[in-house]
Structure formats: structure tokens, C-alpha cells
Assembly symmetry: C2
Homo-oligomer: 264 residues x 2
Amino acid sequence: MKRSIEDTSIVMVGAGNVGSHLARAFYRKGFRILQVYSRTPEAARTLAQEVEADPVTDFEALTAQARLFVVALTDDALVQLIPQMTQGREDALWVHTAGSVPMDVWRGHAQRFGVFYPMQTFSKRREVDFRQVPVFVEGCDRECTDLLRAVAGVLSTKVYEATSEQRRYLHLGAVLACNFANHLYTLASDLLERHGLPFDALLPLIDETARKVHELSPREAQTGPAARGDRSVMEEHLRLLADEPYLSQVYTLLSQGIKGATFL
Amino acid sequence: MKRSIEDTSIVMVGAGNVGSHLARAFYRKGFRILQVYSRTPEAARTLAQEVEADPVTDFEALTAQARLFVVALTDDALVQLIPQMTQGREDALWVHTAGSVPMDVWRGHAQRFGVFYPMQTFSKRREVDFRQVPVFVEGCDRECTDLLRAVAGVLSTKVYEATSEQRRYLHLGAVLACNFANHLYTLASDLLERHGLPFDALLPLIDETARKVHELSPREAQTGPAARGDRSVMEEHLRLLADEPYLSQVYTLLSQGIKGATFL
């Protein structure tokens, strides 16, 4: 009987945002998760229970039986811990989930390795439709890449291959378009709150701003005082921000950027 | 027979993005638009035709018969042109649509006046569902305010009253959460394009970033290297941006802001 891709047995190393969302996505699609590692016993136990795996808090307790190890740690921890975690398990396929860490960190520590980068913003308290999450894979050889494509294809409809170099820029692009955009929501929310206004009033605008770039390029979609070159509005805004040095800097810098991008 | 609110006859002054979207929204809801003013004959003609109004390119040709004049010009043009446009039509209700211009610019030029601020990002090439557009109104007295609430209520399900002071901060919040967020999309798009990657790959992330803040506060929703305090990723990103002084500045400034906002 031919084995299906969902028979790939998995160990999840890391139980943070990315690890938790990934483990749950694998579990829901029928993959067998053998173990969940976290150095925090509580985190390992909670996630392991959810995905019917064994919790592990020590690398020595990692099984050698899993076909695929998925490592979702912070970049620093990942690079530092690779020698320990792989030792004795060099035959498995090892992948990490980090946008900015090259595939070659595995070289010399595992025979078969790669990267499995789901590009999405994961929060503990919010479920994500994984079918819509772009997954960028890279493998040490064609066979690894194909296996990772197949595994990713069970989870998501948007599977791409990307080199380590491209993935760095993807990650940076994601920081700009997602993390920084969310920070601007925070700044707007704080500002409105200080003046007795509900943040909710901004939601239709935030939604439309995101929807627009499905149809127009972001450059075409740009509106606002800086794009119009409306000096009096910009001066007025900077007056309102006179006691807010950080907000003034953000306002000035991004308005200059918009002017540059608009009048290229 | 009682007259309904849609019998309010309107003149639209301005045929830019805001003017065009507003005029079409009024027209679709059954308001009678008598004239469309633009100093550009082509713009006046095109919009006037769409909403079955007469095009006007000269303030002297403005009718004195309309009950409501809606002025959607740039802030500078608005303030400068108020004396000319109102002369001989002081009895109508005059409103402007500008976030950052106080209601009092009308004082001395009209008897009845106010503000009708639709807070949305309007682009020529994209239709907007006006029922979802928050409209902030302010009137010179209770009667004006109530009339504006009623007119706005025909167009949108989200009608609020806001003082001139509050509206300034709304506008500033909108610039942060919308115009600046879109600019970050542009920066990400350019970056990806330079490295052979499709901007479309970012759309699920952009959508999720917007959707998240319907459920979590933006501060709770914040993710990314700066929020995690992941120095090595941030240093790596700044290395990638070594030849991009503007992007480096944006990256450094907003990462500092996120750290400040996260570890408050």
C-alpha cells in the first residue's frame, strides 16, 4: 500500500506562536505529531495535549523515529541549538521556519534539511485559515524540496519555492507591510483614545486600505495629504504633534517618502 | 405631503476623488444634484453627466436654489475660495468635507454651515461601499447637525458627530493607519519586485494584519522581530538595507517605536 504524505511523522520543536499554529495545522490535516518540544514545560504540555503528542523539554528525549523535524524557535535560539538537537538524528529531514535564517545553518549537522517558511502573522489568541497562508519552501536537494512542497501543499493552497536570499527579502517585506503597518494602527489607536474617539471608527478605512491593493498597485492606491502635496494639512498635523517627538518623526519621514514615491 | 430627506437639493463643489465618490453616493440614493462645480471643464462635465447635473466651471454660475452645498476641495483651495463661492448664497447650508479644516472657516460667510467628513480612502478607479464609510458631521446649530445626520444616514450606517478638534485627530489617525500603511505596502512591493518576488504573495499577510485588529487591540496584535526583541533579525535586515538610506531610517525608527510600545 502506498503511503500518503500525511503519514509523514513530525516532531515540532518550539511551541511559540509559529510552532503552535503550525502544529495545529499539521494535526488537523491528519499528520501524526510524535512530540512537541519546548524548554518551558507548561508550553510543551499544553500544545502537545492539543495535538495528541508527547511533551518534551529536553533535547536528549527527542525521538530518532520522526521523519520530519520542524523547528520554530527564535533565530538566535535556532542557530545556537542546532548541534544539540540534531545529534543522533542526522537522518531525519530537518527544517526551520525562519524567514531570515539561511538554509545552510543545517549544513554539517544534518544530511537532509530545508526551510518551511509560512509567511503570516500568528497571534496566540486568533486562529488563522492556513489554506490561505503562503508557504515558502527550500530543500537541500530536489527530493527534499519535493517532499516539503508536498507537505506544504496539504496545509496551504499557496506554496512557493524561494531561495534563502529571496526569503530574507520576503521576511523584510513582511515586516514592512505587516509588523510596521500594525504599529501604525497602534499609533492611530493611541492618538484617537487620547481624544475620546473609538479606534473602531478606523476599521473601515483599515480594511479598505488592505482591500485596495488587491486591485491597484500600492503606488496607484496612495492617497492623503503627502500624496496630494497638501502642505497646509501636513503643517497642521505637525502642529498637533508638537509634544509628540516620536510621532512627529514618523510623520515627517513617511510623508517625505510618500512624496518621493508619488512624484518619481 | 411631507418632504423626505432625499428631496434635499445638492450642489457638489469639487470633482476630485472625494467629490466624485460623494456625488455618486448621493445620486444613487436619490438625492437631486443640481450642479457639479470644477474649475477643470472636463472634470465638471464628466461627473455632472454621471449624476445628471449641470457642469459649472465658474462660481458666478452657481445656483442660489440648492439647499445644500457640499464642498470637496483641497484644504488650501477651500479656505481661499469660501468668500467667492458663498456670495449671494448665504442662506443655503454650506458644508465642507475636510478632516483638518475647522467648521468655523464658514463663519461670516454663510448663515448655516457645517462639516460632512467621510473618513475613507477614495481612489478614482475603485468603487466604495458607502454604507460602510464612517461619516463625521458637525453643524453650526442643532438643526444643521440634525439635517446633516439625516443626510449622512441615507448614505452610511456609520454616522457620528465630532467636533472640529476631534476631527483633526481623526484625520491624523487616518493618515497614520491608512496613508502611511499604504506607503509601507509600496516599500514592500518595490523591495520584492527588485528581488523577483510577486507582491501578491504579501496579500494574505496584509489582509490578516487588517482583520486581526477587529478582534485584538493593535498592541496585542503586534508581532515581528522588534516586538520579540529579536536583535539578530533586525541587524540582518539593516544589513540588507545598507544601500537604502530611506528604508534604513524607516526600519530603525519604527522598530524603536514598536519596542517602546511593546515593553511599556
